[in-house]
Structure formats: C-alpha cells, structure tokens
Symmetry: C2
Subunit: 154 residues, 2 copies
C-alpha cells in the first residue's frame, strides 16, 4: 500500500459514499423487482416506463424521460423492445412535429393490469425504510440534471 493511498481512503469511500450506496441499493432492489415481474415478462424499468404512460393524454418522450430521471436517449433505447412487442406506440405529435407522443396499446394495458398486483406485493415485502423524501431531494439537486440537451446549456 502506498502512503498516498492508505486503506483508510478505501474505508472512507465504502462508509460514506452516497453514490456507491445508492447504486448498490438500486441494483439490489431492481433485481428483486425484476425477479418478481419476470413471470409477467417485464423488468422493473419497463414497468416504470409503461405505468408512466397510463394517463389521459399521451405524454411526450422528453417529459417521460424527465419523470423517470433518465437521459432522453436512454428512454429512446428503452422504447424499442417494448414497441417491438406491441406494448406501446410512438407517434409524431400533430401539434408539434418535433415531438413524439408515447401511448400504451391495449396489450400494454393488459400487461400492466397483471403487473400492478405483483408490484404492490413486492413493494410490501421490502423492509419499511423511509427514504422517498431524501431520494426525491437528490433527483432535483442538480440545476438541470435530466432535462438539458447534451448537458451543455445552463
């Protein structure tokens, strides 16, 4: 071990890094939901995405990306398997032809009807941690975390 990189630094990161703890917890909880939802044929991310489309007006791609806190190009990629399976449609917005409206198909709705009880049960089986408020703070923290084109403007 070099003296400019003592073991204490390793322990400091392990014990205090919010990023590491978040990633680990997100992976662990994500795996658990993936496992529960597997019989339905959805991953946890696909479930979140589909359920976010269940609303009176078909939302635009960018709005859904912001809601999910993900890069819009990630959402574009995530849409493809679901569109291929016929669970949602991507169609141009008539009032603004740059925009894309995302809508559930009847098949997508059917799958959600099956998935929602599984989701409820899986959530209920988690330990009763009280984290949502703190987690929400983190999502909003960066001035333009998820919404800015190419992370450049500001």
């Amino acid at each position: 071990m070099r003296e400019d990189l003592p073991i204490d630094v390793t322990h400091e990161v392990r014990d205090s890094c919010l990023c590491l703890h978040l990633q680990r917890a997100a992976r662990a909880v994500g795996r658990r939901f993936d496992e529960a939802l597997r019989p339905v044929g959805l991953s946890h991310g696909q479930f979140s995405l589909l359920i976010s489309l269940n609303r009176p007006e078909a939302p635009r791609l960018g709005d859904v990306a912001r809601l999910l806190g993900m890069d819009r190009t990630t959402l574009t990629a995530n849409l493809k398997p679901l569109e291929r399976r016929g669970l949602l449609t991507v169609s141009p917005d008539p009032s603004d032809r740059r925009g894309r409206r995302l809508a559930l198909t009847p098949d997508g709705e059917d799958l959600l009807v099956q998935a929602v009880p599984v989701w409820r049960q899986t959530l209920a089986q988690l330990p009763p941690v009280d984290l949502l408020g703190g987690l929400a703070q983190l999502v909003g923290m960066a001035p333009e975390t998820a919404g800015t084109p190419d992370g450049k403007a500001g």
Copy 2:
C-alpha cells in the same frame, strides 16, 4: 382510460415506488459523479471498483462483486475496459485456481490519487441527506445476491 387501470394507479406508483425512486436518485447522483470525474477519466462505477481494490490483499472477483452489490458477470464486464487501460490486473489465485485476484497497477493507483479529492468534493456538494443506513438495509435483503455492507472477508 380503462376502468381496470385508472390514473390513480399511475400516481400510486409514482408516489410510493421505492424502486423507481431509487433508480431515479441513483441515475441523478451517478450522472453528477460521472461529470465530476470526467476530467480524471473515470466513471462513478469505475471509481468505486478501483477504490475497492485498494487494500493489502488483492480481493477475489466474487468478493468484489458482493461488496459492490452487483452480479459477478457485471463485474467481469466492467473489468475489461480498466484492464485494457492498464489500471488493474486480473490474475489467477495461486491457492485456488478457480479464483481470480484483482489488483491495482501503479497507473491505477495514480489515477485514484487524482480522483479521491474530486470524489470528496462532489460528495460534499450534495444536499445533506441521511440515507446511508436505510440504503444499507435494502442491500442486505435479498438472500443470495447481496453481500455484507463491509468488505472484509464476509
């Protein structure tokens, strides 16, 4: 909107899903660390991985995967870019030839010496949320996937 899938379900998920909140926070915080570490040439996951190798004994692949709360095969994939860059080495364990020992190279240590101050500063700039205990609870819940929150030899 179908009556077996009312908008209330959408709101229920949005407002109460620990999985969704975790993924969103993990993405947002991960992006922030990625941005801060970019000048050093590391992503947040690569930083966590490399720092976990900074210890007197080179750990085995499986132990590191447990420490990071990720699938072993994910770790195998994550090693490749770092090995290619000469930041770590993967070598067979002499005492158990199934095992692989992961070790930092001097170049990897040099990079960590640069990265640690950036990591400290980025962590200090986050809002002072108190989440680590709750997050650690979640990692331990899955019977076989997760490891113990500390990294020392289970």
